[in-house]
């Protein structure tokens, strides 16, 4: 399959990239890892006369963590890095788990977190965890820089509020509460190279046995990822029981708005949301119990 003709530009610095992007407005596409873009260019889904790669810009590959500020990662951090970096595994396990389920090892070695976010697919693997953690994205154009919550940045399938000439520079995630339980369920027909039929990301924060805050993020069941506010409210300030999980799951199922496509029917997806949300909540609560008990053992 032959790529259509285009001019390939590789700015070495962020400043140079901003200038080149501004200069080629309307004709250029930006390339992060290229695992999606090159496929779309080959298939002629996307047309562009200029391709601007951000790969040479080292400042976009930084990954920093501090207890006070949390995690800041450049948009060009590879998905394989998310899956393998110890601090992400330890502090933001949902992100590491989801990253390890994206595509194949070969794809993960090229794909980037910024690319995954900007592609804005309803089944994008890193998006659910980033939303559950309340991530914000930084967009830069010329001398202007703005931060926007990821939940507002993605507005439709493949659509973001990224303006012409803007570059997604960084993604920021606040530090996680100490006492959390989590679960990421990506449901598909096969385990490998799969696009989620439904994904459910659950992150619960606890104070003792009580759940104090909850994120239940549903993927591939609407034009964008959806946080089920009703389900989250049901879980808050209560001790998680099977009956409570079931009640929240019913609410999530009623809330989602999936479509019927080649991968599953809308009805089946709604049923999946109910089953997987319940499973996710109980799994997250179970992990919390295990964490608390292991901590007690440590104290002894």
């Amino acid at each position: 399959m032959i790529l259509p003709r285009f001019e390939f530009l590789e700015p070495a610095t962020f400043e140079e990239a901003l200038k080149i992007v501004e200069k080629n407005k309307g004709e250029a596409v930006m390339m992060a890892g290229g695992t999606d873009l090159l496929v779309n260019l080959k298939r002629k889904v996307i047309k562009a006369s200029v391709v601007i790669s951000l790969e040479k810009i080292d400042s976009l590959k930084q990954l920093n963590y501090s207890e006070s500020a949390g995690l800041t990662m450049g948009s060009m951090v590879r998905v394989s890095e998310l899956a393998e970096t110890p601090i992400i595994k330890q502090k933001f396990p949902l992100l590491a788990i989801a990253a390890s389920k994206l595509g194949s090892p070969q794809i993960r070695n090229r794909a980037t977190v910024g690319g995954n976010v900007c592609t804005a697919r309803p089944a994008g693997d890193t998006i659910g965890p980033l939303l559950a953690y309340g991530a914000e994205v930084q967009l830069v154009r010329g001398k202007e820089s703005r931060w926007e919550p990821l939940a507002k940045f993605i507005v439709g399938p493949g659509k973001t509020t990224k303006k012409e000439g803007e570059i997604l520079a960084a993604i920021k995630v606040k530090p996680c509460a100490a006492d959390t339980g989590y679960s990421y369920i990506k449901y598909g027909i096969r385990k490998a190279m799969e696009i989620a039929m439904v994904s459910v990301t659950t992150n619960l924060t606890f104070d003792g046995k009580k759940c104090t805050s909850a994120a239940v993020v549903l993927g591939a069941v609407g034009p964008v990822f959806m946080r089920s506010g009703d389900a989250e409210a049901t879980l808050c300030t209560k001790e998680i029981t099977e009956a409570l999980a079931e009640q929240a799951a019913e609410q999530a199922g009623a809330f989602c708005t999936p479509i019927t496509d080649t991968r599953a029917t809308a009805e089946y997806r709604c049923d999946l949301v109910k089953a997987l949300t319940k499973r996710g909540i109980l799994e997250a609560a179970g992990k919390h119990v295990k964490q608390s008990s292991s901590r007690k053992q440590e104290q002894k």
């Binding site: 399959m1 032959i2 790529l3 259509p4 003709r5 285009f6 001019e7 390939f8 590789e10 290229g34 695992t35 090159l38 496929v39 080959k42 298939r43 391709v51 790669s53 790969e55 394989s80 595509g103 194949s104 090892p105 070969q106 794809i107 070695n109 090229r110 385990k191 490998a192 190279m193």
Partner: protein, 162 residues
């Protein structure tokens, strides 16, 4: 537009003239290099037949532009044998009967190398997971997984001096 790039392929330095829209797979297989051991299957990153190592990491060479290989080290299947002797993973694939039509084999062997380089003693599950991006339509995968196990054991024995 054509540009010159410098890269290392199988431990040899090259300076090559490449097109903007040329993929690494096309460059490797093209008239300048003629390294046709790298196969092109789906050309969309799904099948893994074009897998090569870029700075030691497995990538789909159909989804890397030739220009992006500028300054990097590439290993293809032609780079594994040394002094006319096959790499232990290549031998293991033959001994295990893991090669049938052979089209997926170069990609499989390079993916196996990238796995064993970081995890010299993988479990069967880890081997299966490593190969999720490499399709084989002949073997049913069992013999390929066996081959990687044989190669891993061979390496371990060699290190133990047996």
């Amino acid at each position: 537009m054509k540009k010159y790039i410098k890269l290392n392929i199988n431990s040899t330095e090259y300076e090559l003239l490449v097109n903007d829209n040329e993929t690494l797979a096309q460059l490797l297989r093209g008239p300048q290099l003629n390294l046709t051991g790298t196969k092109q299957g789906c050309e969309l990153g799904d099948c893994g037949a074009c897998t090569v190592l870029m700075d030691g990491k497995a990538v789909n060479s159909c989804l890397v532009l030739a220009m992006q290989a500028n300054g990097h080290a590439i290993t293809t299947i032609e780079g594994l044998a040394s002094n006319g002797k096959m790499h232990p993973i290549q031998e293991a694939f033959i001994n295990a009967g893991a090669v049938q039509c052979g089209y997926c084999t170069p990609g499989m062997i390079l993916k196996a190398k990238s796995l064993l380089d970081v995890n010299p003693n993988p479990s069967r599950k880890e081997i299966r997971e490593a190969f999720v991006g490499n399709l084989c339509r002949c073997t049913g995968y069992f013999k390929i997984i066996n081959a990687v196990e044989i190669a891993a054991k061979g390496q371990a024995n060699k290190e133990a001096g047996n």
